[in-house]
Every structure is written in structure tokens, then in C-alpha cells.
Amino acid sequence: MLGNMDMEEMLKLLAPVIVLQFALMIFCLVKLKNDRVKHLPKWAWALIIIIFNFVGPIVYLLLGRERD
């Protein structure tokens, strides 16, 4: 059964995770554009958000934003 699994079926299985990852990444990049940041410059945070799936955006939300 697994041997017959083609790319389309794999993508269907992974779709919720891919959608979640992209939504989180875009949300954080939009936030980054408007926020004041700490610890690192904005471009470094952008790289972290884009490169590290899920962990990058969450690290930014928890540690990278200057609180109001």
C-alpha cells in the first residue's frame, strides 16, 4: 500500500501541516514588518522565521518582539 503512494497522496496527507506552516510564517512576517524587535535585527528574525519550520515563528513571537 505504501509503495503505491504517489506524490499527490503524500501532499494530501501533509496538507494540513503545510497550510499551518505557511499561515504561521506569513503571519509572523507581517507582524515582523510592523513590530519593534529585540536581540536580533529584523532581517535575522526574517531568516529564522523562514528557515526554521514552526520553531522559528514561535521563537520570534515569544522572544523576538518588543513588548508594548
Binding site: L2, M5, L13, F54, I58, L62, L63, D68
Partner: protein
């Protein structure tokens, strides 16, 4: 009582504003979907390197294996998300001087700590429930064999909630002793993961909160009483100590 209600409400609002719920939801729900899918796809990924008959023997997963894998990942990675979300709760209030106003109005310090604790617990318990049901759905959908039932999930959910009650109380306590949330997070992670180390010793195992994770991933409820009592006692001790520490801190 008014302080408690007001502070609990404030914590929920701040949780939304500081995106704490997004972090918690990612840490708890992500692996509930990702784990069964990756477990299912794992044989396909390595099919070119290992002969098909060996793959079938090595990777014959059942729905309960997917649930056990989720619980393991929740402990290993989900705990990180939970700890770092809660790590700044006490010290940020003190050192950013946000707490001055409620104190000057005569707010009850014990109730403030309890409100913080309860807020995290409600969020984590709700998200764990969602995570376990997502995992049940995906595991039953993707794997053949004995399906996971709601009655399988209930004891797992109960034990996980007790374990994370302990983790949050530990994090809040360490947060009250440190100035930076990163330090509190690192200390809380070290302490939480070292409970797994205690479980390596047979005599200490039942006194280690990590035993709850072992019991949930084995779907067993044997000898759970000692671990439950120890974990709840530790949670209460940490909470009371946090309240004392919070009371003794000087607010400028």
C-alpha cells in the same frame, strides 16, 4: 475574589495579545497531525535503501503506536513550547514594573499567582484534548489494526494534564527566581528533562513525574497512585513556594 477574576481575565487577554495561545497550540497540536503522517510516510522515504520485505517487518505500525509516538514528542518538544510560553510570567511582571499598579490598589498576591497558573492550565488542558482527538483521528485513518477509542484517550488525557500541571508550577517557580525568561525557560527545561533521568533508576521511577509520560505511552495505569501523589504534592509545593517568593519580592 474580585482580584482573582480580574487577573484571570487579564491573563486571558494578555495571552491573546502576546500570541501565547498560538505558541501553545503549535507545540501541542502540530505533532498530533505531523506524527502519524510522518510515521506513515517513513517507509516510503527509505524504500530505496531497504528491501520491501524488511520495511514491512520493521515499520508495521498500529494506531496506538502513533499515539505513543505523539506522547513521546509532546514530552520532548511540546514541553519546550509550553515552558518557554510560561517562562516570563512572573519575572516580566516584576521587572517590567507592570505589577506596581495592581499592588498599589491592594491586589492579593496569592490570587495573582493562582490566576496565572490557572490560565495556563485551562489553555493547556483544552489544547491537549484537541491534540489527542486530532491524533486519534489521523492514527485511526492512516493505520490498520486495533483502533484508538475514546476510553483509551481519557486516562492518557488525565495523566498528561497532571504532568503539565507539574511542569507549569515548576516553570512559574523558576520564573519567580530569575530576571530573564530565557534563564527561567532553560532552568525549567533542565529540571523537567532530568525527571526522565530519575526514571532510569527502578527505585526512583515511581516517584518521578516523568513516570506519568511512560505510563501514558504504554497505555497502562499500573502503579500510577504513587506517581500521581508525588506529582500533585510537588505541584502544590512549587505553587506555595512561588506565592511565598512573589510575596517577598520587592516591587519598586
Amino acid at each position: 475574589m474580585m482580584t482573582f477574576k480580574a487577573y484571570l481575565k487579564k491573563e486571558f487577554i494578555e495571552g491573546i495579545r502576546q500570541y501565547k495561545y498560538i505558541a501553545l497550540a503549535t507545540g501541542i497540536i502540530l505533532f498530533s497531525i505531523l506524527d502519524p503522517v510522518m510515521l506513515k510516510l517513513l517507509p516510503s522515504f527509505i524504500s530505496n535503501k531497504i528491501p520491501a520485505n524488511i520495511i514491512n517487518q520493521l515499520f508495521e505500525f498500529k494506531p496506538k503506536d502513533a499515539l505513543a509516538n505523539y506522547i513521546k514528542d509532546l514530552f520532548q518538544i511540546g514541553t519546550l513550547f509550553i515552558i518557554f510560553t510560561a517562562a516570563g510570567s512572573i519575572n516580566e511582571e516584576i521587572y517590567s514594573q507592570k505589577i506596581v499598579f495592581p499592588f498599589s490598589k491592594g491586589a492579593n498576591k496569592s490570587q495573582i499567582v493562582l490566576a496565572k497558573y490557572l490560565h495556563f492550565e485551562i489553555a493547556i488542558c483544552l489544547l491537549l484534548l484537541v491534540g489527542l482527538f486530532f491524533n486519534q483521528y489521523y492514527a485511526n485513518l492512516l493505520f490498520e489494526g486495533q483502533k484508538i477509542t475514546v476510553s483509551d484517550i481519557v486516562p492518557v488525557y488525565f495523566l498528561l494534564c497532571i504532568y503539565y500541571l507539574f511542569v507549569i508550577s515548576l516553570t512559574l517557580l523558576l520564573s519567580s527566581f530569575t530576571k530573564k525568561n530565557i534563564s527561567a525557560g532553560i532552568l525549567a527545561c533542565t529540571a523537567s528533562y532530568s525527571t526522565a533521568l530519575f526514571s532510569q533508576f527502578e527505585k526512583l521511577k515511581k516517584f518521578s513525574p516523568y513516570n506519568l509520560i511512560l505510563l501514558t505511552s504504554n497505555f497502562g495505569s499500573q502503579d500510577v497512585k504513587t506517581t500521581l501523589v508525588t506529582t500533585i504534592l510537588l505541584t502544590l509545593i512549587f505553587l506555595v513556594t512561588t506565592v511565598f517568593r512573589f510575596n517577598s519580592l520587592e516591587v519598586n
